[in-house]
Point group: C2
């Protein structure tokens, strides 16, 4: 779903004149963050494959590629299709893709785009192989290793070997390596504990890689890491790709962990009520979300007291002059789920809305994909 | 934004054959819940004005009206416009509407629809009056009283009187009464404590009504309550309107509080990974949300271990036969924020998708409303 001419009516307005609540992308700050990460990664052995689950924006993905990223990661087949349609030509779906319609859509995209996908079961590999064969395409695969989250991923070296061997015998499938996402480390606020947990996660992943190598199976790609561990995992001499995403926008949560990246994403809100030190905004959990951390008011000494469905409650000093009708920008606690609440970005340069960009690949946002089985 | 022909491709499929994650509305269950609430309310003095912030669906709103509801409540001007455009002719925006574009859009809707809106400041009243005068319409107002949430609403009887007097002197404004939403009581799991808190909230609201009456200002409308207090607030002889909404879908949270309403809303998900007793689904916080409570798998003995961005982790017994590719339906912890993550409902009758209905009025989902000030 793209941006309608009517939605573009916001172009030309000042950043505080957009209808609230609205997603504001400060392009100047995002450009700076992309450049900063590109510089830092250039000194590390791993390549950067930014995770587009954060932004769901081909425009931002292209900026990342232009700054040297080796490709893009996505969490879903819908995000991958949106990126491929916009011309991004090397995509890792860092997740399992399951179900006949999705698998067939994946095989279709792989006809014209280099696609790699995570796998952790033989059944899923068989489905991918059949679809790739039918579409005359090749799907690259990484075995996903559970490095501590208890989510997807094989649970042992032996299981990894079984999946890898199976993958290498299947038509339409190209074996590419291993992936282990240390999501549980990102949430660790204490840097020392984070370093320790991250070290364990990466060494668990590499133990699997070594086990495969002992069987003659080499991993061309070893993929791991996120913004919260970019300087640790990205510095490991054997990790080839880093899946950092949040650094572009730097939400309140990541901003509290990682220095050097200014916030580029806010939700513009209007003061709808004020009584004493309590200010109420028209942006709540349906507009900004409370994931990982409460949102933070930018430029005000304020405590976010609560976040209801359609309201944020800020406690400001009695001297704060915010009044009914004024606007406030909230930095989300966690970027990806905040972006997911909006169909468009209001792209701001030098304080003025210069473009309206779509947020693509949200669930249900377009027709069903693929050739799903209709009722008999 | 309406439903495209392509999105309707799901019609005719079985409820477990829709692309996942997908919002599933069991229309049979929703009809039963609407009928049950209509019967229960018929015995109570208050009228039912269902809150459409839950469903954002004119189709469901019309079913509620057809079952005897006196009108609809909404949380935002966008929801109100969507309802009015679909022919709902009596709408309470149970919230303050602030900002020139929104206020002017409100005055415009009020030309053809009976509109009532909550107010808690003189400044907002002045803006509403100016817009109504310019549009040659009449906007009804209720003074919102803070009955314990610390959100919007006047903080004292004296402040209420000041707002009421001001409202009654303004052109284009029709004084209609008072509103106090006891949202803090809904979250109280202990029935006895809930009864106590609700009693205090309603008596705080009525104390304001009495204070206004002593000044000769009568309240034609006294609006309060939600699903969590419907049988208490709705039974009060002086409350005229009840703003219950969640009863139609009965999420996991409300289901734990209020007996007699089967769940009508689920998110269909696919098993993408299984290792031992841990099953991973392709529906996470971007598809079902973790507000108030974790989602609950329907029809399985399962504990929802975590809800990540795109994954739910279920712990099922070793004997549970769920395998990669199977589908599971998750009942959301809280309905309104789960619905808000989806553009459409897959409407199921007797196990088959018979319609695809839009979720309307989500933030940013259409062009900016009203005549917002463009940059000079």
């Amino acid at each position: 779903m793209s941006v309608s001419e009517r939605q573009k009516a916001a172009i030309g307005r000042r950043r505080n004149e957009v209808e609230t609540p609205a997603l504001i992308l400060d392009l100047d700050a995002a450009r700076a963050n992309i450049a900063t990460m590109a510089e830092r990664i250039a000194e590390l052995p791993a390549g950067l494959r930014p995770h587009a689950k954060l932004h769901k924006s081909p425009q931002i993905a292209q900026m990342q590629i232009d700054a040297g990223a080796i490709g893009i990661a996505t969490a879903t087949i819908r995000e991958a299709i949106a990126m491929a349609n916009a011309g991004i030509d090397d995509i890792l779906i860092a997740n399992e893709v399951v179900g006949p319609a999705k698998v067939s859509a994946l095989a279709e995209v792989a006809r014209s785009t280099r696609i790699t996908v995570a796998v952790d079961s033989r059944a899923n590999l068989d489905a991918l192989s059949a679809a790739a064969t039918a579409a005359s395409s090749t799907i690259g695969v990484l075995v996903e290793v559970d490095v501590g989250m208890g989510r997807c991923g094989v649970r042992s070296k032996e299981e990894a070997l079984e999946v890898a061997r199976h993958a290498r015998g299947l038509p339409g499938i190209e074996w590419r390596g291993a992936m282990g996402y240390e999501g549980h480390c990102m949430l660790e606020p204490d840097r020392e504990v984070r370093v320790q947990k991250q070290g364990k996660a990466v060494s668990d992943l590499l133990a699997v890689v070594d086990h495969l190598a002992a069987d003659g199976i080499e991993c061309e790609i070893i993929s791991a890491g996120g913004t919260g561990t970019y300087d640790l995992t990205g510095a490991h001499p054997r990790v080839t790709e880093l899946q950092a995403g949040s650094y572009v926008f730097m939400d309140a949560f990541h901003g509290s962990l990682i220095p050097g990246f200014p916030p580029a994403l806010t939700v513009l809100a209007t003061v709808v009520s004020r009584h004493g030190p309590r200010v109420i905004l028209d942006a709540g959990r349906k507009a900004v979300g409370a994931d990982l951390m409460m949102p933070v008011a930018v430029g005000h000494e304020a405590v976010t007291a609560f976040l209801d469905e359609e309201h944020a409650g800020l406690d400001v000093g009695e001297d704060c002059e915010l009044a009914v009708g004024d606007t406030v920008e909230l930095m989300p606690g966690y970027g990806p789920t905040a972006v997911n609440l909006h169909p468009v970005y209001h792209v701001v340069e030098n304080g003025i809305v210069t473009a309206v960009w779509p947020v693509l690949g949200r669930h249900g946002s377009d027709a069903p994909i693929g050739k799903e089985r209709a009722r008999d």
